[in-house]
């Protein structure tokens, strides 16, 4: 019997036990952005504290950044104020900031891995719930609130309760047209939006072994949507080859030495877990949400289940969701008309997402009346996509090609739904009002499915666009 990766990393980072019984946990990498950090720096000023390890915190700007006109000052005075605040704070406290003039700028959960800051065996914290993304590298990564951002700045530690670890194995092989996004939406549907409370999720098995790092990031990103604050995949050769040569990893022999340590962190075949569940890849098809939380989803060939098929204590919520979405139980989600198509976000704004979307968009046209936008997750992804000509494919098809940022995932910037618009979105949350209109409606799906919906003007099955239907 050996211990799993989570417990190894936790133990290495344990400073001690606090009077409350919580663990004081050392944080190896702290990422900050403009929305959840200003009040934390203010706390430091009030208490006359310094940043204990300024070289272990990196800042970027993403949530409020406009993706069309980025000229300063921003048209939105409040956004400009937040932008100025992070510039002043990083300067005063000695923290590296990837600002708009820096080609390392982008969504915080995209630039960490891209720069090689995110590494196996680290503890990572950020004032953002999608910090779970970084677990794709075999790191323990979790979202925190603003007070906790101040704690990490001042002490490089947090007061934490140790979660239990649930191993989620997915066996088999994903069919063509079924993506990492479908896998995580399927898992959340099976385990529920609160199923992960008190757990870290270890994603294991053939399906995750076969995934590239970007796909693993998509899966880990949405752990929090299943209630798990943290989700991870064990580091392997895919992880190591992704990191080799990146700016912030050790170079040369030092890298090989680090890689050996990373391999040794992985949960062994006899590692123990507090809970284990297993799913089969052949049960997963392209998945679309119909409701107002990410567990309310169906496979594209299914109908929205009748209300009475849900447990009694969920039926009120299901009715509320159907009413808000103006959808009917028993009907398919396929064919649902859309007004907006959004490709981007920390879940699905990486180069492989854009390549797959472009492959489907190529030679097609966005349906009339649909507003379709593609927002690369970082400046480097934008540049890479342009060097491959992806932007031209998107533009020729009628998509708008934007600058890097969080954009319409959470609509703290000018990209927002209007009124009751329905959005096919590659983002992570279908909450009421999430995409900027208090009555707007979001259907979550993979970037490939969003592209297909943009072309069709309605939710459709992307598999039929990838290859001719054989009967």
């Amino acid at each position: 019997m050996t211990t799993n990766l989570f417990n190894k990393v936790w133990d290495q980072h344990t400073v001690g036990t606090l009077p409350s019984g919580q663990t004081q946990l050392f944080i190896g990498l702290h990422l900050i952005h403009e929305v959840t950090s200003p009040q934390a720096f203010e706390m430091l000023r009030e208490r006359k504290l310094k940043v204990m390890y300024p070289e272990r915190t990196f800042a970027t700007v993403d949530h409020i950044v406009p993706t069309d006109n980025q000229a300063r000052p921003f048209a939105d005075g409040l956004a400009e104020q937040m932008m100025s605040a992070i510039e002043v704070n990083c300067d005063e406290f000695g923290i590296t900031l990837f600002d708009l003039k820096d080609d390392r700028q982008g969504i915080v959960h995209i630039v960490g891995p891209e720069e090689g800051l995110t590494q196996p065996g680290l503890t990572i914290a950020c004032g953002d719930s999608h910090t779970s993304t970084h677990g794709a590298f075999g790191a323990i990564a979790f979202g925190i609130g603003t007070s906790q951002v101040a704690y990490v700045l001042a002490t490089q530690t947090l007061a934490m309760n140790k979660p239990q670890v649930r191993r989620i194995e997915v066996t088999g092989k994903l069919a063509s047209g079924v993506y990492a996004k479908d896998v995580i939406l399927y898992i959340i549907r099976q385990l529920g939006v609160k199923g992960g409370i008190g757990y870290a999720y270890e994603y294991a098995g053939e399906v995750f072994d076969r995934m590239n790092m970007e796909e693993r990031m998509t899966v880990c990103n949405m752990s929090i949507e299943g209630g798990a604050r943290c989700g991870y995949v064990n580091p392997d050769e895919t992880t190591i080859e992704y990191l080799r040569g990146r700016p912030q990893v050790p170079q040369g022999d030092e890298f090989d030495k680090a890689a050996d340590e990373w391999r040794a962190l992985a949960s062994g075949p006899d590692a123990t877990f507090d809970d284990e569940v297993r799913f089969s890849a052949d049960q997963i098809e392209p998945t679309v949400t119909w409701g107002i939380n990410p567990a309310q989803s169906v496979g594209i060939s299914e109908n929205i289940p009748p209300v009475d098929e849900f447990p009694a204590d969920e039926q009120t919520g299901v009715k509320e969701a159907l009413e808000y979405m103006s959808l009917e139980a028993g009907k398919p989600i396929r064919g649902q008309k859309i007004d907006v198509a959004f490709i981007g976000s920390c879940t699905n704004g990486r180069i492989s997402d854009l390549r797959e979307a472009a492959r489907i968009a190529e030679g097609n046209k966005v349906a009339s009346g649909v507003k379709a936008i593609v927002v690369p997750g970082s400046q480097k992804i934008l540049k890479q996509a342009e060097s491959e000509g992806l932007h031209e494919i998107f533009q020729a098809a009628g998509f708008e090609w934007r600058a890097a940022g969080c954009s319409m995932c959470l609509a703290m910037n000018p990209d927002k739904l209007q009124g009751r618009e329905v959005s096919a979105s590659s983002s992570n949350r279908n909450f009421k009002g999430r995409q900027g209109s208090p009555t707007g409606r979001t259907l979550l799906m993979s970037p490939a499915m969003v592209t297909a919906a943009a072309i069709e003007g309605a939710v459709t099955d992307v598999r039929e666009m990838l290859s001719p239907v054989s009967v």
Partner: protein, 194 residues
């Protein structure tokens, strides 16, 4: 810091499940560099769309004890959510369960989140509706909620309980006390050597 052992006040009945932090405080109100003034926007969009929302009802305006359902505070880690509830006047939350990040944020603000069984929550919410001035006592020390002649056992994570009742919920001071131990742990991590 203040020991938080007893909270007495009137209730706000909001017995819904999976209330996410985008609903508690919509993202546009996160465009700020201070939490001042954020209280008035708690549940802004829900209130706009539903005139009967409890945060719209004058009989609950003085309420300080929020009664809610399962998985309250799920989604975004934004501390703006508990900050807005606290500044609205919420001093304690009784629910069936809480999302973890939200729970931690509340604890660090000195707002206890305690859990109770669903039937007890339903009974309490319904009594608040029929009798809004009903006085409710959250006895954190005894892990009980008391109102009229009813006593409801409630639960809370041991660490949060200990921190709140002992007045040690200012975690920053505690963490700062161990700087030598922090440096020692850091010195043993291989990635801290380079």
């Amino acid at each position: 810091m203040t020991q938080i052992t007893q909270i007495t006040g009137t209730g706000i009945p909001l017995l819904l499940d999976d209330i996410d932090t985008d609903r508690i405080i919509p993202a546009r109100f996160l465009r700020c560099v201070s939490f001042d003034g954020i209280g008035e926007h708690a549940f802004e969009d829900d209130r706009q769309q539903d005139k009967s929302h409890p945060f719209n009802q004058p009989q609950y305006h003085e309420g300080s004890i929020l009664v809610t359902g399962r998985n309250f505070g799920c989604g975004s880690s934004r501390e703006h959510a508990p900050q807005s509830l606290m500044r609205w006047g919420v001093k304690a939350i009784i629910g069936e369960s809480f999302a973890e990040i939200f729970f931690g944020n509340c604890t660090s603000l000195g707002v206890p989140c305690v859990t109770a069984e669903r039937p007890a929550l339903e009974a309490l919410a319904s009594l608040i509706k029929s009798d809004p001035p009903l006085e409710i006592n959250v006895d954190l020390q005894a892990k009980e909620v008391r109102y009229a002649d009813t006593v409801v056992p409630v639960d809370i994570a041991a660490s949060a309980h200990e921190a709140l009742v002992s007045g040690q919920w200012d975690f920053l001071s505690q963490l700062l006390e161990n700087k030598d131990a922090i440096r020692k742990t850091a010195s043993q991590l291989s990635y801290m050597q380079s």
